[in-house]
Symmetry: C2
Subunit: 328 residues, 2 copies
């Protein structure tokens, strides 16, 4: 059985290039005990792939998650036909053992496409849910600011914030995205961070300050929020750091330790793998809100495994709105 995979030829240096990745074909081995053969249906594109690829030796399969179907099995926990999520990287077919690769049953996507288990009810939705509700713990009437608001995580954070009775402020990098965030996702205020003065925009958006800051971006935007906009006992959930992923140099800025003392701020970075006990309920709630029309998402499906590197580059450039998946 043939399989294809994308390997990282060398570490990305600054913005990823097509030549950093190479499509390779290989023969798959026959199954040993406990192993399964899976075929990818959808592969996920996520920002974390950029920074976490730094840990890969040159020539490794590029990291990533997919929804796949078990097509052969020597593992009774994963019989043929089982839909799984597998962290096996950019591969169209894979022979895997659950002992060495993280594989789990697909999250329930109800009447919707299984691709939603990479978005709404998968890692991005769960990150929004856990990060906002557990780390920021917003109270009704409080103000939430979430950046990268047209992305899947930001869009879900903002809509959960509205469900919880908060004022929700967002930002995005194009007029079209801002329109979507305001009109489709129902944020109270959205600004284009590329064309506005950040301090003025946040003063206008949050005249009484920000209580919860869900941060997908980091960098100078976060510095500005910490120094000038967070209220006493403000909470920051650090989910991502988009502003730095393709930077060649370490970002610098003013140190804000005293702001933490003075304003009793809390900042916490998180990954959902540390909240496994909360994830089933999170996914079920997200699906329920979606089916009730309270939680909208935008999914972009790019066709063809062979187009994955270009889609990744476009994704990092901000060319898509919402969740991007590759249809294998």
């Amino acid at each position: 059985m043939k399989a294809r995979k994308w390997i990282l030829m060398q570490q990305f240096d600054g913005f990823p290039k097509l030549t950093d990745l190479k499509l390779v074909e290989e023969d798959l081995p026959s199954l040993k005990d406990d192993e399964i053969l899976i075929e990818a249906l959808f592969l996920s594109l996520d920002p974390y792939m950029r920074p976490f690829s730094k840990a890969l030796p040159d020539g490794s399969t590029m990291i990533g998650t997919q929804v796949a179907k078990v097509v052969e099995s020597k593992n009774s926990d994963f019989p043929v036909g089982t839909m799984v999520i597998a962290d096996c990287g950019w591969r169209d077919r894979s022979v895997l053992s659950p002992k060495t690769t993280k594989i789990q049953k697909m999250w329930d996507t109800g009447k919707h496409s299984p691709s939603l288990s990479l978005g709404l009810v998968g890692m991005p939705g769960q990150s929004a849910y856990v990060g906002l509700l557990t780390i920021c713990n917003p109270q009704p009437g409080e103000t939430i600011f979430v950046n990268s608001s047209a992305g899947i995580v930001g869009a879900i954070v903002g809509q959960i914030g509205k469900i919880k009775g908060c004022r929700v402020i967002g930002c995005a990098g194009t007029v079209e995205k801002c329109k979507e965030v305001k009109e489709q996702y129902g944020f109270d205020y959205v600004f284009n961070y590329k064309t506005c003065n950040l301090n003025e925009a946040l003063r206008t958006a949050a005249p009484n300050g920000i209580d919860c800051y869900f941060d997908n971006v980091g960098g100078q935007m976060s510095v500005e929020v910490i120094f000038n906009h967070l209220n006493q006992k403000g909470r920051i959930a650090c989910c991502g750091n988009l502003s730095a992923y393709n930077a060649k140099e370490q970002q610098t800025g003013p140190l804000f330790f005293f702001e933490f003392v003075r304003k009793e701020l809390k900042m916490e970075g998180f990954m959902i793998y540390s909240y496994e006990e909360k994830l089933p309920a999170a996914s079920a709630q997200l699906l329920k809100w979606h089916d009730e029309g309270k939680l909208k998402i935008n999914e972009v499906v790019v066709d063809g495994f062979e187009n994955m590197p270009q889609a990744f580059i476009d994704f990092l450039r901000g060319s898509y709105n919402g969740k991007v998946v590759i249809k294998a």
Copy 2:
């Protein structure tokens, strides 16, 4: 009745100077309903006075806390003879109403001097207790790093850490202080931050990394700890920011938002006034440990209200070990 007070003539600019403060005598008014007249026994010197004085208009009484005795009273909650802690600033006698000034009954100091209610069982001890146990939540076997370890807060943090079964690392700025931290307070490892390479010292002190960082200092030391020494899920309690209090320029350094995501770090600034429900038990436990010989402190008593500015300057220069109080 005459009273003396120290007023802040103008904002401190960089390191405080004697001429920034002026001793003023005034006539106290007679008591109105609800008011009390108190006489200071001991006045506290604390690092927070430096940054928080920035909020004072020129000519204000310098901020600070004292242990005092009620000598006249028109308030049945505070009869004559009551020992109180009052946040009424650098004054030897004061007419106060509990409605406008924070006044509370003195914390129990057992068989010891009432001055301990400004140190061991007062704000510094409570800060150490709450910050370490509530925010850092150290587990037996974990490694704690606390800086400014010869100061009252650092010394107590380290000793609580030892009581809780942790490895405790400290630092101080003189050979003598380091000796005291190691020998009197029983830290596992202490280094002189003024003469060592910080990264190497922490590598040697904490070869398995740091789990809990109780930060009294901020600045480059904290940056170093965050980037190179904190373990996955490390916790930072921001108690103070000594490195910046007398700096004329905003400190800058590398931004560390991605470290928070990658290592799932938590950082929280705190002030004990937000933990009032925990303070009585904290003070009682601290006193008990002290009486059992498990928690040692060093108290420096400087004689004379008139010497308070010089003592404050010496204190900020690091000339004292442990808690400094002024005997009025």
